[in-house]
């Protein structure tokens, strides 16, 4: 089983490259899944998924593929519900699913998306795919999908949250008993600051949720370990010419700091050279436009050359992909893009 994680900032063509890479693997005969953990739904148009469907097999009959290509969009709600049912006892699970703050948490807790990504990946691994390609959120914060589970593990396994949960229950049942005065005082202050309802709802929720979170944390740790193993996982950085040097420095540094294996960097959307000899009577705006294209393109190529020089030997594959005529849409366009990718 192989996992490839695509990272990059917005608008660099991450989804297209991730999908084309998965398509390439499917054409080679593998059973392959491309999983988007970003809600931007770009994958839906790229691979022609039906509306409302969160996982679907892509029709490749035209390409005589010996393997299979599946596309999936992460549904945070479904993944969280699944985790609750999977890790909790039935009564516990029901109490959580019915809790008023459960819905608020899903809707507004920044990071729930990232938290559930690991859970969703785990599910995909269990479904027996040979290659899993992950399309992350289009920001520099995409790495939170890797940080959060561990943050969550720490949070959940710290005695504090347990204490908080238990403290609340004791507070309710036997006021002022068995808790130190100092703890109660601090707790009362916090309640006054944030509002009683808010604090009690959260504590109540967490006092039930933390038992479930332990199950989640255990599996998340295992999955995170898999993502650190260079035999199974490779991280692919995607960027565009003008962002190349800075994006690559950023992601390479962040990945190395977390001990994740960087496999490639791809500079996408490089323009052709645009060297058109104009007749002397060409209208000035046209001459200016062509000169502008030429200048932009030359600057892009310089950026690519610099990146290649900087990372030769540091990242195993430093690659470029040209700008294709239209925004890549549909399997046909991905097939075309896949032809520009270096074979693995």
């Amino acid at each position: 089983m192989q996992i490839q994680v695509f990272l990059g900032t917005g608008g660099v063509g991450k989804t297209s490259l991730a999908s084309a890479t998965a398509l390439q693997a499917a054409l080679r005969g593998e059973r392959c899944l491309v999983l988007a953990i970003d809600p931007a739904l770009r994958l839906r148009t790229a691979l022609g998924m039906a509306p409302g469907v969160s996982q679907q097999k892509v029709d490749l009959t035209e390409y005589a593929a010996s393997g299979e290509l599946w596309a999936a969009l992460m549904d945070v709600r479904a993944s969280l519900d699944r985790a609750v049912r999977l890790y909790g006892k039935p009564a516990q699970a029901q109490r959580i699913l019915d809790h008023p703050i459960y819905h608020t948490l899903i809707a507004s807790l920044a990071g729930m998306q990232e938290l559930m990504a690991i859970e969703r990946l785990d599910q995909a691994i269990n479904e027996g795919f040979g290659t899993i390609v992950i399309d992350t959120a289009p920001t520099r914060h995409a790495l939170e999908f890797l940080d959060k589970p561990e943050y969550f593990v720490q949070l959940v396994s710290s005695p504090i949250v347990r204490l908080v949960g238990r403290a609340y229950r004791l507070w309710e049942r036997t006021p002022l008993a068995s808790l130190s005065r100092a703890t109660l005082e601090v707790y009362a202050r916090v309640e006054a600051l944030l509002g009683t309802t808010l604090v009690r709802q959260i504590l109540d929720f967490y006092s039930v949720f933390f038992t479930i979170a332990e199950g989640y944390a255990q599996r998340a740790r295992r999955t995170a370990a898999r993502l650190r193993d260079p035999r199974t996982t490779g991280f692919a950085i995607v960027t565009t010419p003008f962002k190349a040097v800075r994006d690559t420095a950023f992601f390479a540094h962040e990945l190395e700091a977390r001990k994740f294996p960087v496999r490639s960097v791809t500079v996408n959307r490089i323009w052709p050279a645009v060297e058109v000899e104009l007749p002397p009577d060409a209208p000035p705006p046209i001459a200016e436009t062509l000169r502008w294209y030429h200048d932009v393109s030359r600057a892009q190529r310089r950026a690519w050359e610099q990146l290649r020089a900087d990372y030769a030997g540091r990242i195993p594959n430093v690659m470029q992909v040209p700008e294709l005529p239209r925004d890549v849409d549909g399997v046909a366009a991905l097939y075309q893009l896949a032809q520009h990718l270096e074979p693995r």
């Binding site: 608008g11 916090v190 509002g195 309802t197 323009w271 000899e277």
Partner: protein, 316 residues
């Protein structure tokens, strides 16, 4: 940098906060800093609120170098990041009778866990601070600021931030529900915000921009002041008679013909996407040309700043 209604010597009663929002990678940070630089050069004191912590921002733009290359403008230009955790702590500290108790509560694990977990708290704190900064513009005392620019986070998080004021009111109680209500009102007041969605002329970005505009207007009752189309080619601004088409240049050698075909294709995409925007949204549309090359951040920002004619008059 011109525009009616810009502050001169007398401070007007109210200046909107200029907000650049939109998809990731369309150039919000560049436009924010370029506008800020333009203001700073004309002698106004400007605060740009970055959506990235300053060490992250430094990977995109070197403020140090700008300071070294144009110290006069840099003296008027302050770039800041609002750390919601610090703001929350500061808000709470004021409510405590002694710093000892404050420190004890604010360093307690219960507090630290809760502010991470409680939905929307950090967003509320951020907006409160932004509003506070906006209010300091009205103070006549020295050190007050003339212009405030918010380099907003990418669409999803931006909407979440604005939306949180409502959510708070709906689901939760406590001292923050009241703050949420006030903020909601403040940020939907036309005179308080000059909101400019930024887009590139590419299919995905344009689709997202149209959706963003509609969400702002119908969902949040906030009215954007116009659209900035960033990174356009000079052809888009050229006059109609100079239209570039396949007949413009004939008899080119194949390699050059292929290059020309590429340019024509890019040009058609730009045209089509601008048409889509024009038929979907009221505008006005501000075209900002891509700077083809630059040798320093200051040079890039100056070149962009020179193009920003975005009217910063108080919207009507």
């Amino acid at each position: 940098m011109t525009g009616s209604g810009l502050p001169t010597t007398d401070r007007p009663a109210r200046l909107p906060i200029v907000v650049f929002c939109g998809k990731g990678g369309v150039g919000k940070t560049t436009l924010s800093l370029a506008l800020g630089l333009g203001y700073a050069r004309s002698g106004r004191s400007v605060v740009v609120v970055s959506s990235q912590p300053l060490p992250d921002l430094a990977m995109t733009v070197s403020l140090e170098r700008i300071r070294a290359e144009d110290p006069a403008a840099a003296a008027n230009l302050m770039v800041t990041y609002i750390d919601a955790r610090e703001i929350l702590a500061a808000m709470f500290e004021r409510q405590f009778p002694s710093t000892y108790v404050a420190r004890k509560v604010l360093t307690s694990s219960i507090y630290k866990s809760l502010i991470e977990i409680a939905p929307g708290l950090k967003e509320i704190a951020f907006l409160s601070r932004l509003r506070e900064l906006a209010d300091t513009r009205l103070q006549p005392a020295g050190g007050a600021i003339d212009a405030l620019i918010w380099d907003a986070p990418a669409t999803g998080h931006f909407l979440e931030t604005l939306n949180v004021t409502r959510k708070f009111e709906m689901y939760l109680s406590g001292p923050f529900a009241q703050t949420g209500r006030e903020l909601q009102q403040y940020f939907s007041e036309r005179a308080n915000l000059l909101l400019i969605p930024v887009t590139t002329l590419e299919e995905m970005a344009v689709e997202e921009t149209v959706e963003l505009w509609r969400t702002l207007e119908h969902g949040l009752r906030i009215h954007p002041a116009g659209i900035a189309c960033n990174l356009v080619s000079p052809m888009l601004q050229a006059s109609a008679e100079a239209t570039l088409n396949a007949d413009t240049l004939t008899g080119l050698p194949p390699r050059e013909a292929a290059d020309l075909a590429f340019v024509l294709d890019r040009h058609r995409i730009e045209r089509d996407e601008l048409d889509t925007l024009r038929s979907s949204l009221p505008g006005p549309f501000h075209l900002v040309r891509r700077v083809p090359q630059w040798s320093s951040d200051l040079e890039l920002l100056s070149a962009v700043s020179a193009q920003l004619t975005i009217a910063t008059a108080t919207p009507g």
